[in-house]
Amino acid sequence: MINKLIGRTSVRDNIKLSEDPSYPIFKELYEKQKKAIWFPEELNIQQDALDYHSLSEDEKDLFDTAVGYFCSSELLVQNVLVNSFFPLLTDPHAKMSFSTQLFMENIHSDFFEIVLQSFGMDREKMYDVAFDDPILRKKQSLIVDEIDKISYGQIDPETLEGQKQVLRAILLNNIILEGIFFYSSFAHFFALKDMAKMKNVVSGVELVLIDESLHLQNGIEAILIMLDENPEIVKDTEYVQDIRDVILEGTALEIEYVKHKFGDRTILGISYGELERYLKYITDRRLQELGFQQEFHITENPLRFLQKEDVKKLINFFEVSSTEYTNY
């Protein structure tokens, strides 16, 4: 088993870039991530301090939990990447792309850390929220427990079983955690901005979103390449069904979480019903991106204010931090 994206590597391998890369997509994704690099200092987060103190209790709780969730999850993403599949990447461009992702996660933790400090939030509570809240803990456990089993060299990438395990790890990390769980919390932030609250923090989250959508792409590409290189995988009905199930399990947990958070209240103009549809819509997307059939058949994003994220942006510079400059 040679010439696969995932394999056994040593420190002597992968130290040469080729002009004609084996996986040009990772070169492209590296370039894209490089262009997206930003720094938390570019945002005037302190500007939102007054806003923060005027949030209603529900709104504050939603904001705090989202910040706390990201605080620890950004670092979790790094753990998963480093401890499970990063050492098994055999291609230097793929390594560059995923290590840029690692670097970007630093920026994100840094950013959420600054948010936490700027508003005098309870740091212990914030960092613990993801494991203290019973429902958030379920979400985190889904990722953590599985990764535990395959970390630190417990995988033999030279076997089909090993390839399958790595694929699942990438899926859990880049698709479920970054592509579903994160996307759910993004919506809470954008709803705030839609109500003209916490605009500078949310400008930062807009940048995080750009980054995460690139990480998602890293994951999708890696998975599609692995499926291509290991045609046996898709023939394993049970395994394929398992993959689909774990995605849907992630969605179910996320839906359970927003149900518990929103109940029958409408916060920031959005309700549980809308969020549930939104998550189903996002999940359908993820399924299709991996070649699965849709599960929920939701064709339209019910959170219409999100289209504001899709079009070109013009910023009143003196009012809101700009997210429209490219660093190089």
């Binding site: 302190q46 409408t266 059939q293 219409r304 013009l314």
Partner: protein, 806 residues
């Protein structure tokens, strides 16, 4: 789920769909729409998911507004409906507290919000002049912005002004007589022109601070620096933008005679202002801001270029300040011709600060000779093109510093005997002589050109424009005597020069009305004509004012000294300045300043949140051609708001008319600004929009701006290449690869969308509705859609679209 509405008095009633439907029909009334049932249906559908189990009437009103707002990108009619709904909410709230305009005025005086001076006017006459029909001219984004920040609040923080009261209050703070007030009110309420934000905030109130901009000069002494820090604090507190020239502050290593020690240069002092402005920024309706300006021959220029970097030593970074370069011609010439440039210490070469044009060139050459001869303590020689490249790189990366041309500003200085022009202001449209003891102040207002197009769209309505410009000139001149000046230096400058800043917005919107593409020679010609016309009328009015009220003081003083200027007496040293009009163009719902449409659909981030802006003119055009639909809206969105590459529209509309900012070559953008600048006596603030693929040409573009004699450039927008995943649009990242759908393993996993079976959950309401229409016919479906709890349909499919059924 059974829903309950909690009324204001605390009583509860069951949630009734029909009641809301009726309320929506009420706001639709009088609107020309094809199918009002469909409108109501769509809104109800949006609303349905939002309404929680228990909801207060106020919350419900807000949710209805949110539901309508979400539909705005589909059609301008939703913008109108959202505006009406918001108006209803504003009026409802105010009516609970205030009976009438008179009542509002009285409460305003009682709470010491309104200025005593307003009591001189005839309230009854003014009240009769209010025309609430004009509320309809406002768009949703404009009204939201007004409601959030412009409408005056009482001491408890509750909005106490209806939009028409607001316009009248502003007019009352400007006009000198009842007649003049009514005249100004009429113009403002018809959105024919608007004053700048500080005037709209403060006119007629106890905080009579009308001015947008202050431009100060710091001398090379600790005294002056601390003095200006103090002045800046007060200027910033009253919501003005402050521009400050720091070119005089001696460079790093320069000897301080009194200490006989080397100076630490200009940068640490600039940092003081960063801290200061940041501390005052907290709160308030608009961030106070400051721009510091430096001439690029200053030895500390490297550090200056780095001020807005986000990494490095925080002590040398100023995240809260803006920066600009005050660039002399001689240095541009050297850049253009590849000759080296030299940096000097203003402590050693102070004459370079004030010198302009040929005088600067001569002095600069002399200093270069001395430098080469080893006669100067400090200097540096740089490759001019390397420097320019580095500067433009910083501009693209950090957005700063902006490039402003010192000599072009000074060539047109009408009062060189008063002082040189030391720098421009925050928004780069100001060009007023100033000194350490005389801080320039500018009070601005802008014509809304889109309201000055003849009804048959054949031409600009020049007569109306005369009327507007005259009203503006007189109104602005009135303001100068009512204004509160936060510093003596600011009062001094105004009383000496009486500068005004009449500008323009809605240029691009007017062009489309006139069928002229922004990217055309015709647009340049119209720009030139408009500039000249504005100058002619404003100057004529100012000369009349000089006869009535006297010429500006410095003019008279020079005349008395027998060294009078060679132009006829006028009331104001300068009158015209084209500002960026970021906020007031939103209130009027038009294109900002002389810029083109940014895009045909885009979102705009402001203090009032994020709003989607659509090019209404394009939609109307497409509708007329029968080409507007949800599908087309999605196609335009998928093209990032551009219509240029939508083949379907070839020959249907004139695509040239709808080019967006990055699709118009920066040269053309510069040509238009230059055509205005020919006649504008202060400056035209011009942002440049540069497509990523022209990034390599930035040097050429900025040299061109200099050759075309622009005085000022402003923000440099470069189209961002890396964007996030689109939320509301299908994206195919997989391409033709089959992924998990490749193996035919599990049926559930079988990829590519060959789903013929009935899906588990039947898609969106719209799909459901379409299916129902097919099955039952329109009549039955419409009935089901209108059903309330008493008349629910029995068919399960129909029940699912019935808003009352759960």
């Amino acid at each position: 789920m059974k829903r309950t509405v909690i009324k204001r008095d605390g009583t509860e009633e069951p949630f009734r769909t029909q009641k809301i439907i009726n309320a929506i029909f009420e706001i639709i009334e009088g609107l020309e729409v094809e199918d009002d049932y469909e409108l109501v249906f769509l809104i109800m559908k949006e609303l349905d998911l939002k309404v929680p189990e228990r909801v207060s009437t106020e919350e419900l009103d807000r949710l209805v507004l949110k539901a309508i707002e979400q539909l705005i990108p589909r059609h301008p009619v939703y913008d109108t409906l959202a505006t009406r709904q918001l108006l209803k909410l504003i009026n409802k709230r105010i009516d609970r507290r205030l009976d009438s305009f008179r009542d509002y005025l009285e409460k305003g005086f009682e709470q010491e919000l309104l200025h005593e001076r307003l009591k001189d006017f005839d309230f009854e006459l003014l009240e009769q002049s209010l025309d609430f029909e004009r509320d309809r001219l406002l768009g949703y984004f404009g009204l939201t912005t007004m409601n959030d920040r412009y409408l005056m609040k009482n001491r408890d923080g509750e909005v106490m002004e209806k939009p028409q009261w607001f316009f009248m209050r502003v007019a009352m703070g400007i006009g000198n007589s009842n007649e003049e007030i009514i005249k100004i009110y009429n113009k403002l309420s018809k959105l024919e022109y608007l004053h700048s934000t500080p005037t709209l905030f403060n006119s007629g109130t106890v905080t009579s601070q009308y001015s947008s901009c202050y431009v100060s000069v710091i001398d090379d002494s600790l005294d002056s620096i601390m003095d200006k820090a103090r002045e800046t604090a007060f200027l910033a507190k009253y919501a003005g933008g402050v521009g400050t020239d720091v070119s005089r502050i001696r460079a790093t290593g320069s000897n301080i005679a009194s200490l006989n020690a080397p100076s630490s240069g200009a940068i640490p002092f600039i940092k003081i202002f960063d801290t200061l402005v940041n501390s005052i920024q907290q709160g308030g309706r608009r961030r106070s801001s400051q721009v510091v300006s430096m001439q690029p021959w200053h030895l500390d220029i490297d550090g200056f270029l780095d001020l807005r970097e986000t990494t490095g030593n925080a002590y040398f970074r100023t995240p809260s300040l803006n920066t600009s370069l005050w660039m002399p011609d001689e240095m541009m010439r050297r850049i253009d011709q590849g000759e080296p440039i030299y940096l000097f210490d203003p402590g050693e070469c102070p004459e370079l600060v004030d010198a302009t044009g040929d005088d600067f060139k001569k002095n600069y050459a002399r200093r270069i000779e001395q430098a080469e001869a080893g006669e100067l303590e400090q200097f540096r020689q740089l490759d001019s093109q390397d420097f320019f490249k580095k500067y433009l790189f910083k501009l693209a990366k950090t957005g700063h510093p902006w490039l402003i041309f010192k000599d072009e500003h000074n060539r047109h200085n009408p009062c060189p005997e008063y002082s040189v022009i030391n720098s421009s202001n925050l928004c780069t449209e100001i060009s007023i002589p100033n000194r350490p003891d005389s801080t320039a102040v500018c009070t601005l207002a802008s014509v809304n050109l889109s309201k000055h197009v003849k009804e048959d769209k054949s031409d600009i309505d020049w007569e109306k424009l005369v009327d507007t410009l005259e009203t503006m000139t007189r109104g602005l001149d009135n303001i100068l005597d009512k204004n509160f000046y936060p510093s003596e230096a600011a009062r001094q400058n105004t009383m000496d020069l009486r500068p005004l800043g009449i500008g323009l917005m809605g240029f691009a919107e007017a062009l489309i009305d006139l069928d002229i593409p922004y990217d055309s020679e015709e647009a340049v010609i119209l720009a030139r004509k408009l500039g000249a016309f504005m100058r002619k009328i404003a100057y004529r009015t100012s000369q009349e004012l000089a006869e009535e009220r006297g010429a500006f003081r410095h003019y008279r003083e020079m005349e008395e000294q027998g060294e009078g200027y060679d132009y006829p007496p006028r009331r104001n040293a300068v009158l015209l300045a084209i500002a960026p009009t970021a906020s007031i163009s939103i209130i009027t719902g038009t294109t900002s300043s002389i810029d083109s449409y940014f895009s045909n659909i885009y979102s705009r981030d402001t203090l009032s949140g994020k709003h989607i802006v659509i090019n209404r003119q394009l939609i109307e055009d497409l509708e007329e051609k029968g080409k507007w639909s949800d599908g087309m809206a999605d196609v335009i969105k998928a093209h990032n708001g551009s219509v240029q590459y939508i083949d379907e529209l070839d020959g249907v509309i004139d695509k040239e008319l709808y080019k967006t900012a990055y699709e118009i070559h920066p040269r053309r953008q510069i040509d238009i600004a230059a055509a205005f600048q020919e006649s504008i006596d202060q400056a035209v603030s011009k942002s440049l929009y540069i497509d990523e693929h022209l990034r390599e040409d930035m040097e050429e573009i900025y040299l061109y701006a200099w050759e075309k004699k622009l005085k000022s450039t402003y923000y440099c927008f470069i189209d961002k290449v890396v964007k996030g995943e689109k939320y509301t649009e299908k994206v195919n990242k997989r391409g033709s690869r089959k992924g998990f759908g490749g193996g035919g393993a599990a049926s559930a996993a079988n990829g590519d969308s060959s789903d013929t079976s009935e899906p588990a959950e039947a898609g969106t309401q719209a799909e459901l509705e379409a299916k129902a229409r097919q099955k039952f016919g329109d009549e039955v479906v419409d009935e089901a859609l209108e059903a309330d709890a008493d008349s629910c349909p029995t068919d399960p499919m129909l029940r699912r679209i019935c808003p009352a059924c759960e």
